[in-house]
Point group: C2
Chain length 289, copies 2
Amino acid sequence: MQIIAVNEYLANKKRLVDEALRDFFSQKNSLFDVMYYSVDSGKRIRPILAIAGYEVCGGEDTGVIMPVACGLELIHTYSLIHDDLPAMDNDDFRRGKASAHKKFDEATAILSGDGLFAYAFELFCKGDSHASERLEVIRSVSQAVGPKGVVYGQMLDISDMKRQPNMLRNIHLNKTAKFIAVAIKVGAIMACAKKTVVDKLYRAGLCLGMLFQYTDDILDVVGKKSDLGKTPGKDQASGKLTAPAVYGLCGARFRAQRYADRTKSRFRELGSEFEFFCEMTDFVLNRSF
Amino acid sequence: MQIIAVNEYLANKKRLVDEALRDFFSQKNSLFDVMYYSVDSGKRIRPILAIAGYEVCGGEDTGVIMPVACGLELIHTYSLIHDDLPAMDNDDFRRGKASAHKKFDEATAILSGDGLFAYAFELFCKGDSHASERLEVIRSVSQAVGPKGVVYGQMLDISDMKRQPNMLRNIHLNKTAKFIAVAIKVGAIMACAKKTVVDKLYRAGLCLGMLFQYTDDILDVVGKKSDLGKTPGKDQASGKLTAPAVYGLCGARFRAQRYADRTKSRFRELGSEFEFFCEMTDFVLNRSF
């Protein structure tokens, strides 16, 4: 993959993902319109990581990776919709507009999330090639986003937990890092990369995911609503276990930098063609949205 | 498959499914315990249909079909948990005990459903054999239970709809029939049945699924709470579009009988080895729970 500025890469791929998502939601039933309301915005970090993983590992056919990449975005969107529900984080604002349950109602929001989750797996199966790779994708993703991953992390996140560093790590690892890591992993799987490369990429991705959640926690303290597209200060106000809550803002920033260094070192171990992910790491470290 | 009395077959297979489910939920994290609370009961209709479809089509290895069959039960359980939420049907009683949101809380119930959904797909991938069949299973199930199937049906079900026969059919077909039909279909797929057989079984299964929802609607009127394990009269009270609401109780019973006849005729077209499904059809027609 030709190394271009990470901002340009992100913008190009975001445009392609946006287009593909529009296609995947066109000319279906009324529920698809409701689901698309929540899908139609977002940074597209996970699909872009999947595409980058695919391209870095030698994948050349965007048509092969795109449905898989978009499936990840649908799962991310479903988790945001359910997360924002009154019974969960009760957030009325997401991705720069009213959350699904405010735009529609709670029942519609719940079903809209459920629909996105199911449709993601339909997209993972889209295409005639790569049967065993697709199965490996589904196995990896269902583990990463289910009750051994994202859903477990969210469960811990809403629990009444002691403010222990170990618990913070456990929440970050499950709620965020596994999903970020699996996004890169599925790109590599669909490019038929060697298992050793796939595994090393996943481990580097876990580190990138921890960094991602650290910057998310920090932005909850210092970010602007207009940049974030969601309400800052919510985690603080609700007494959530966040990096700044455990380590203070300076401590959290110090540790975020350390995660960034560790992430880049892991990607560099894989070889110079993985340099893009180091730039991506710096982008995540310095992001304001 | 040796033809034995349908009641005996159901009891035997239910025991096997119950055992397998216990195994799939043992020694995991605390979220698995929460999810198992809702899983630990139920008629196991969908997994049994999958096993029957597998055996009727010549499948002999229970270890191959069991994780797939159990995955279907997890998806059914997740849909019940979300259906019972206060924002949806607001039902406090399910499978003979407190619904998940009453036993725990709403947030836990939402996450518990989400976790079951994801874990189902992990189970579909469990095993080293049948990669392309498993992918076909996942493709079929995600279509049947997602926004072109169950979730769409639930969306219609909670909408403010005119009491038209067409709309009733649309709700029954999406909310129930596609899932029942796909249960039999995945059994046939995992037994490597011919595509023509798989397709015919699916069409017969749709008819069985329509019958299943008709008897469900009728039992909402005439059933007992102790038999049903859920609150009867809820659909009536909430003004839902049901078969008795559209056709009256007698009309609904008449049409249920007609669906049963049609279902049996479709299964019989497939050959005498599919006779078990005719007995199953009579069982569904005459069920009291």
